[in-house]
């Protein structure tokens, strides 16, 4: 499997008036192969969304990236984010389909803008192309959707239309930022099935950002667990979830109410994610970790392979 996306030691620092104010990403490394679905999981503030934005070249102003992002063999230039890469090679689906579309234009008009910009198709050709993809994502009446305004469609239909829009330029990689979080469970399930089917059909890679381990379990081939701006554990989904090695991954799993009998207390992870990561020099999880030893407060562990393809960033990995 050739690597479609390589993120190597990506650091993002927020600057204010030239001075570093926070460092939300502290050396993220991950890869996605052709046709592979990588789940990026973690809690609020761990850097999931920012990682997605960095891959898309959409970092907010004042964010200074360091490291390497290689997309389909092409090294990305942080100083000149290319709109051409966006759409053609990598495309984005947002969390909330209701606000991702402009309410005053029809779905068709908004999709036409995308495709005419990237492909230069004429109006009639563009329409055919769009209807084709609206049908591909399982919308029952593509023609009606094409003419609809966003408020005339349900959340699930909008998310399908959003996915169709992301597919228009036949991207190699799709970044999905919590695409099912705002949807009801029954609809969310359909969307997950759709993503898997489209992946099988088109063979694109997926960077799937979510906080829901259950969703990762159902959909993703591999997963990367983020904590405080760093990948703390990554590997094949089944392996990581069956036999988690990092204390944070274990903590996330043990906190799930589905894994505990009613009435007995849940194993909560005490404390909260550190707000500012500028001053972190040791393991950022040590303060919340029940396995922490003195060395944990001195050494900043890097992601190391424990077994083939299963990496853990914990100095006590293997012994706990």
């Amino acid at each position: 499997m050739s690597e479609l996306l390589v993120v190597d030691d990506l650091t993002v620092t927020f600057l204010e008036r030239g001075k570093p104010k926070n460092r939300p990403l502290r050396g993220i490394s991950l890869t996605i192969g052709e046709g592979e679905i990588l789940g990026v999981v973690g809690e609020t503030g761990c850097g999931k969304t920012l990682t997605g934005l960095a891959v898309l070249g959409l970092l907010p102003q004042g964010a200074q990236p360091n490291g390497r992002i290689v997309l389909d063999g092409v090294e990305q230039d942080f100083t000149k984010p290319s709109a051409d890469t966006r759409g053609r090679i990598v495309s984005l689906v947002f969390q909330n389909p209701g606000t991702a579309f402009n309410p005053v234009f029809t779905i068709g008009a908004q999709m036409r803008d995308v495709i005419r910009r990237h492909r230069g198709l004429r109006r009639g050709e563009a329409r055919e192309h769009i209807l084709h993809y609206l049908a591909e994502v399982g919308l029952p009446d593509p023609d009606r959707v094409y003419r609809s305004f966003p408020h005339e469609l349900s959340g699930g239909m909008l998310q399908r239309a959003m996915i169709a829009m992301a597919l228009l330029c036949e991207p190699r990689l799709l970044v999905l930022d919590e695409p099912t979080t705002a949807l009801d469970v029954t609809i969310a399930k359909q969307i997950l099935q759709l993503i898997r089917r489209l992946r099988d059909q088109f063979g694109f890679g997926v960077l799937f950002i979510t906080h829901n381990l259950g969703v990762v379990n159902e959909l993703c081939d591999r997963l990367a667990v983020l904590y405080a701006g760093r990948v703390v554990e990554s590997g094949p989904t089944a392996e990581v979830l069956q036999d988690p090695q990092h204390p944070y991954t274990r903590g996330l799993l043990n906190a799930l109410p589905s894994r505990q009998t009613p009435g007995s207390p849940l194993e909560a992870i005490p404390g909260a994610v550190p707000g500012n990561l500028l001053a972190v020099t040791a393991c950022a999880f040590a303060d919340r970790c029940r396995y922490a030893i003195a060395a944990c407060r001195e050494i900043d562990p890097l992601l190391e392979e424990l077994s083939a393809g299963h990496g853990v960033a914990c100095i006590r990995a293997g012994e706990i």
Binding site: G214, P244, A268
Partner: protein, 274 residues
């Protein structure tokens, strides 16, 4: 034991664009004192509307709600006030449920100012005591909502709901805006408070796992109707209604491994302050 809260044939109709929407359509249920009733359903199923009808926050089209045997439907706001001291409500979006310009102290003191004559030093002491009960230290009293994390805000929201020592807490998706690790802290806190004060909960959630974990009895809502209700064990393991089955099927399968190292849970884990 008797029903602390009972609603009968609740109907709530909204009119929008000349269309009638039956947000709540002939719903009846009772909650025994000291038990937890979970209302589960998808968005727009009417579960939040029911909670607000039951608390008398929005007028009904027909039906009635009783609290501890007293009819509370149709009471004026003034007549309702003493009943409100016996109820508390916890909201889905914990930060938005706090007035952004009021300190934690002022937010928690509000029910006490409304329902009691506690003032001055005694009021501050009571606020400090409530903060401690929800696992926050007294230093939080002077903070403003934007200086709190989601989990801390929800603890403040719970402290406020508990201030007048109510018998019933209505929990409207209390953890759906929180991360799993924080959700676990809040669920633990809710369990502990329930045990300590014999509280009755009306819990609203779309998350079957949370409902299964916390509730004794469950009602499943769909398009304004209560399609199935019964003990949590029965409804969630052997559902009778087709829709309940669909809901359960749609839940993503939880990661399979047995909880690891869950044997030694420090009892004071939830007293997490920072």
């Amino acid at each position: 034991m008797s029903a602390l809260i009972a609603v009968q044939n609740l109907v709530k109709i909204y009119r929008a664009h000349r269309q009638e929407v039956r947000a709540v359509d002939d719903v009846s249920f009772e909650i025994e004192e000291g038990t937890t009733f979970g209302l589960v359903g998808e968005s727009g199923s009417g579960k939040s509307t029911i909670a607000r009808c039951a608390l008398g926050l929005i007028p009904l089209n027909s039906g009635e709600a009783r609290f501890d045997g007293r009819r509370i439907t149709g009471l004026t706001e003034r007549a309702m006030r003493p009943v409100r001291a016996e109820m508390g409500m916890v909201f889905q979006n914990p930060v938005a449920a706090l007035n952004p310009r009021m300190t934690v102290r002022d937010s928690i003191a509000e029910p006490l100012l409304t329902h009691t004559t506690v003032r001055g030093r005694a009021l501050d002491d009571r606020v400090g005591q409530l903060l401690e009960e929800v696992g926050l230290d007294a230093g939080f009293a002077t903070r403003l909502p934007h200086q709190l994390s989601g989990g801390q805000s929800q603890r403040v929201g719970i402290a406020r709901a508990l201030a007048t020592r109510p018998r019933l807490l209505v929990l409207d998706e209390p953890t759906s805006a929180l991360d799993v690790s924080v959700q676990a802290q809040v669920l633990n806190l809710l369990q502990e408070l329930r045990a300590q004060y014999g509280l009755t909960y009306l819990m609203i959630s779309h998350d079957l796992d949370v409902i299964r974990y916390l509730c004794d009895t469950v009602g499943v809502m769909r398009r304004g109707q209560l399609v199935e209700s019964g003990s949590a064990a029965q409804v969630l393991t052997s559902p009778r209604h087709e829709y309940t089955k669909q809901l359960i099927d749609a839940m993503p399968e939880a990661p399979g491994a047995k909880p690891r190292g869950a044997d030694t849970i420090p009892t004071k884990l939830r007293r997490t302050t920072q």
